[in-house]
Symmetry: C2
Subunit: 373 residues, 2 copies
């Protein structure tokens, strides 16, 4: 049977996903005792102790389906953010939210604007729905060019993805820039402003910066805005898949109608609720990153390695004289997993997640070795 | 902003999902100490002890993203079913598999055949993709009419959903019926036979019956076949969301390309692997259901309550003289959650999950009370 005859046109160009191997498998295959993973922007401090307790306490209940409404989780988020539950939705990670938005809004005739060098999932979901991706160049220093994005809008623009801070560059847009942008974007042929999705997966790492805009503050004035957050990053629950978003009651009501019924699993819900109650979780994560970022910047300067200053928990660095892919492979042999940036069209760069102090020291040691510096 | 102007046409008719409340909330609101849930076909014996251990042992690792390939889980399934991993895929429950198939294959001009009184998600995903649902009547006794389904095929038929055993009726189709069906379905305008999705979520409960067909046995001869299974039912991991499927290498390769990267969460993977290794899990579940089914049938006969003989872990019963919805409400006040069948177009019927012996006894007691028998 020739499957390409019957699959949807928009799925035909999907590339096979080549995922990383589990750490245990790598250890076995490479004959290594220790492997450190600085590849996926996880919080190496691990989940809140309260979350761990909640997981263990509720493990016996996993024969039940999850609460399909994430009732208690939404209540906890509502209290934390002082926002009605009707403006909040939950999903299996930020990834699912991006796909939910696409399935709800993207028609084949729609154009979706995204920035070059930003999270690749925006392009993937746009492809999935058969819509057109419009890729806008960045400003100098790998920063989102919101003015150019506003100018790129036309009658067919259905949605705009903004990542703030941006992945994989670690850069951010300021309050002033974002406020100007909201005013500038024009209405489309449907007579409304395009949906703006601000992906704030790394919100907590940037939140201490004075001119960093909290998307939540723009919700009332912009009914076209969807803000995306996650428990995968600073809350260290990536393995459990739980994200959340803020939007108008109307948008939330439709997302609720079309999302998979049991999208947030039972242990994810209890772990997330417990994490919210543990305020130390965030401050500890912020402190680690700020301290270790200083260490890494100093080392990069000593080694004359180009890097992009980051407000998130990862740093984009230039792997010269190696290609990013070769730097990745060489470090893998040394037991350090980082991320090459070919799929982001940045073949000379690698992205490293900021780890624990001993992990970062080891990384620098191994980096020196593979770059022969 | 009038959101109906900009959402996809096929999402406009989605109904707000009104989910059940969490048991804890119901207890509080209804002033009840104990509530039993016989509503969602869960296995009340709970998960395997090995699964519980695996969850607790791996809880600290949830700051890592899940293995996006479910590498170890696929290996364990491959060994259990003696099938190459290239023929196996995993997903966040059977629900996600149904949506993956729809996103991969269903175009607006396609027709999708499903049976009346079967799992409602088939119709929902068909709506999501804007395709046409063709609903075929059942045979007497609420059994899938495979002959009528084969006859309903035309040039536009892209896929056919079969549930075996069927939810919510508990009935099944025999080997002979299924084999005839495979031969009878005609090719469509794409020059291939329609995709046949056999949903075997309740496989293990029916597996002991002599003429019940194991979908896996038909895979080689039918490259259009997708078999769906789950850890939510007899394996009692509904709360963790993990399902799996068997199909040709070609179909699996495309499902892998378009599925969400981290769709099976970290604890789901380790719990599922541990469950496979615990062979008692299945036999204990089968034994409980067979024993308790006998008890319930006898009680229904005594009470002159109509029921459909079931090969799964749930039973469809006629709530006369009450409407199903009223029976549900009356039992809820008594602390027993069952499922009314209005959304399945069966307003006179309710579906009850077979529970633990003490739960079934209590259910019969409360049923007598609300039906005044």
């Amino acid at each position: 049977m020739d499957i390409t005859k019957i699959i949807r046109q928009s799925c035909k160009n999907f590339q096979p996903y080549i995922a990383g191997k589990p750490i245990e498998t790598l250890k076995r295959e490479m004959g290594l005792k220790n492997i450190i993973k600085l590849a996926s922007n996880e919080n190496p401090l691990g989940p809140s102790k309260k979350a761990l307790e909640a997981i263990k306490k509720n493990a016996e209940k996993v024969f039940y389906y999850p609460d399909s409404n994430s009732y208690e989780l939404k209540k906890a988020l509502s209290k934390k953010y002082n926002l009605p539950t009707e403006n909040i939705f939950t999903a299996a990670g930020g990834d699912e939210i991006i796909e939910l938005v696409a399935k709800l809004f993207f028609n084949p005739e729609d154009e979706i604007i995204m920035s070059k060098y930003s999270f690749i999932r925006y392009n993937l979901v746009t492809q999935l729905m058969g819509s057109k991706s419009v890729i806008v160049e960045m400003k100098d220093g790998f920063i989102y060019d919101l003015e150019a994005i506003a100018k790129a809008c036309n009658k067919n623009t259905k949605a705009i993805f903004i990542t703030n801070p941006n992945n994989p560059t670690g850069t951010y847009n300021t309050k002033v820039e974002l406020e100007k942008f909201f005013k500038k974007i024009p209405k489309n042929k449907y007579g409304v402003k395009p949906i703006v999705i601000i992906d704030e997966a790394y919100f907590e790492y940037a939140a201490l910066i004075k001119d960093y805009p909290n998307g939540l503050n723009y919700l009332k004035e912009n009914p076209n805005l969807i803000v995306l957050r996650t428990f995968s990053k600073i809350y260290a629950l990536a393995g459990l898949r739980v994200g959340y978003g803020f939007a108008s009651k109307e948008i939330v009501s439709y997302i609720e109608r079309m999302r998979p019924t049991f999208n947030v699993n039972l242990l994810a819900q209890v772990a997330a609720i417990a994490s919210i109650k543990d305020k130390d979780q965030v401050t500890k994560g912020q402190k680690l990153i700020n301290q270790e970022k200083d260490f890494l910047y100093k080392e990069f300067k000593k080694l004359k390695i180009d890097y992009i200053p980051s407000v998130a928990n990862f740093i984009l660095i230039k792997a010269t004289p190696l290609k990013g892919k070769d730097c990745f492979k060489a470090l893998l042999k040394e037991g350090v997993i980082i991320r090459a940036m070919d799929e982001y069209q940045l073949p000379d760069w690698v992205r490293i997640t900021i780890g624990l102090p001993e992990e970062n020291k080891l990384f620098i040691k191994k980096l020196k070795k593979v770059l022969k510096k």
